[in-house]
Amino acid sequence: MRDVKIALRNLTRQKKRTILLAAAIAFGIYIITMINGFTGSFIENVSENFSNMLAGHIFVEGVEKSETGRTLNIVRNDEELMLAIEETNTPWKYITKRSDLGGTLIFAGESMRQSITGANWEIEEYFKQRIILKEGTFEQMQEEKQGIILSEKVAEKLNVEIGDRLLVKCRTYTGQQNVGEFVLTAVLIDASMFGGTTAYANISYVNELLNLQPEEYMTLGIYLEDMDLIDQAAAALYANLQTKVSMFERQSDDDENPIIAMLEQQDEEEWEGLRFQLMTLNDIMKEVQQIVNVLNTAALIILLVLFGIIMVGVTNTFRMVLMERTKEIGTMRAVGMQRGIVRKLFLYEAFFISVIGVVSGLILAGLTMFILMQIYWGVETPAFMLMKNGYMTFILSPLQVLANFAIVSGLTLVAAFFPSNKAAKLQPADALRSTN
């Protein structure tokens, strides 16, 4: 307690120096905490945004090879799929069935290329909760078979209003030209980075345009109750599906992107008829995870470089402290202080500086995060995918904060150890003779 008390009081002797050193540590912690907080939420936000955009966490697609050798995405009969989901007790929350149509929307001389997603609005509850409509309602969508929801930007560009009819030029799933007509039923506020290029329609009409049967669709999406169960549920479902239908092999090689590997199988392997492929959000997010890993590694390197510099500062500061207090150390040794206690005094001081620095840095980072989280950045920013509904979010793991604290304190103690050891080894007589 005595040593702690003296060490704490020693910190007040050169207030400016203590503040500057703690500020340097605080800055380092601030930077690393911000990066950690950002990367922590990055993966979650991107996953969530992707799952909203793709309507699910696990996706099953039917792939059919036509007589001409062309591959087509289609699920003609999903009985086996639904049975497999049931048998594996997949913990699903929502199941979506979607068809996608690529086409050009034309209105009053204006045209725009759009990806039109056909969905069943009766079962797309989760998606309906996420989408913010500026005009119109989902009820109107369900009533109007040819209804379409455009993003605010597209509606503005095409100069269309609710109730206007738009032409669509597209191709059937076999590649033949087709033309249809949509009625603008609702306008949404861009809800994703693809908001400007994606429109939403009823699956029944999209299927008509694609020349698919009403019960057919392209992708089955499964929203799970918990995103952490994706891999486990996908593995069980895949194993069950293998016993029922022909499946493309799932790539488990960590070095390769599973989706690219699956697409390569389609091109390279000899196959005929209908096969299924199972993908997960994690497969898609693998690339994103790699970005996060790169960011985390960069953060760690920044931390190490920063603290390398801070360590030099700490060592120099404590060398100066040693010079200033040589006589005092001599006195303390003369009156009976053991070497170990002298060393401890220095190390306590260094530890307290690191605690002050870490706590200040964390408070500052917390405040900055809080302020940034209150700002609505909008959905049109390119960084939208990294945000949650236009708001920045930060997720910090307490373990990571503790690890950062341990690293900083450890490095500070290492930096202070050499001068403290030198102080402990001072001969009392030499120290007392010192002119400092």
Binding site: E328, T331, R333, V335, G336, R339, L432
Partner: protein
């Protein structure tokens, strides 16, 4: 009863036990000898007469490529309860001798015995303990710890080792010391709020905190005016008389030198005079 170890034998020499290392001739049994001496001297501690003994002590400091012979072979004994001045001009070796008695420096040659224990063979830990338990220090420039107030500075040595005193006993003892040196009103002041004389009083109280047998004062009055110097010496003398603490102080001030019972004068690292005042009690006498 007095006894002497000679070639490993214990001889009775007087009415008290006094074991001198110089009389031990077993050259190659230094460690055993130290242990035995330490045991016997601690056992019969109350009867030990010479509390400090220097035997042919030399100290050489390296100074660049040359050497400075600060002490050139000094031998003397200091009796328990004495008030001793080591006097001499600047560079005569006063501080070096005090440092060696205080175990904060080691002789290049010769032996320093504290309470009969040869200090040269002790580890840093043991020597630090010895300093803490047996010795008190008063420095020329006070050397108080600036972040601690008067009470805490006096208390400081007590916190460094084991103590039999309860918390209350400690507080009472420190308060008594502070009162003794006349600083009760300044108890909570930091050193930078005190005058030079007051700081030296704090240093005296601090030196006495662990109830040491010996207090070493290196030019305690050098940084003080004459009136304050006189007051400090009077205070030291009073404590010496009241508590029986042995005071060894160095000075170059002739007016202070003569206050001591035992005077050792130095010049160029050698003793030029070593005498006791006629009116002072004889070494070893009870009165």
């Amino acid at each position: 009863m007095n006894c002497v170890i000679n070639s490993g034998s214990l001889y009775e020499t007087s009415s008290y036990f006094y074991i001198r290392k110089s009389e031990v001739r077993v050259k190659y049994y230094g460690l055993i000898e130290s242990v035995v001496l330490s045991f016997l001297n601690n056992y019969f501690k109350e009867s030990v007469l010479a509390i400090v003994e220097l035997i042919d002590v030399k100290k050489v400091y390296p100074l660049g490529k040359t050497e400075v012979h600060a002490v050139k072979g000094v031998s003397f004994e200091i009796c328990k309860g004495d008030f001793i001045s080591i006097a001499g001009p600047s560079g005569s070796g006063k501080s070096t001798i005090l440092n060696m008695i205080g175990c904060i420096d080691v002789p290049t040659e010769g032996s320093v015995l504290i309470n009969g224990t040869e200090t040269g063979g002790l580890s840093d830990k043991n020597i630090t303990e010895l300093r803490h338990e047996v010795l008190g220090f008063i420095f020329q420039s006070f050397n108080l710890i600036p972040v601690l107030n008067v009470y805490e500075n006096v208390e400081f040595p007590l916190l460094l080792g084991k103590s039999d005193m309860s918390k209350k006993e400690k507080t009472d003892w420190i308060d008594m010391l502070i009162e003794e040196v006349g600083l009760s009103e300044w108890r909570n002041h930091k050193p930078n709020e005190l005058s030079g004389g007051q700081r030296q009083r704090v240093a005296i109280a601090r030196a006495l905190a662990t109830k040491p047998e010996i207090v070493l004062a290196d030019e305690p009055t050098a940084n003080l005016d004459s009136v304050t110097s006189e007051a400090i010496i009077t205070l030291m003398k009073k404590i010496n008389r009241d508590l029986g603490t042995t005071f060894i102080f160095s000075t170059h001030d002739p007016s202070i030198v003569e206050v001591a019972d035992h005077i050792i004068k130095l010049r160029d690292g050698l003793i030029t005079e070593n005498y006791r005042h006629e009116d002072s009690r004889a070494c070893g006498s009870d009165d």
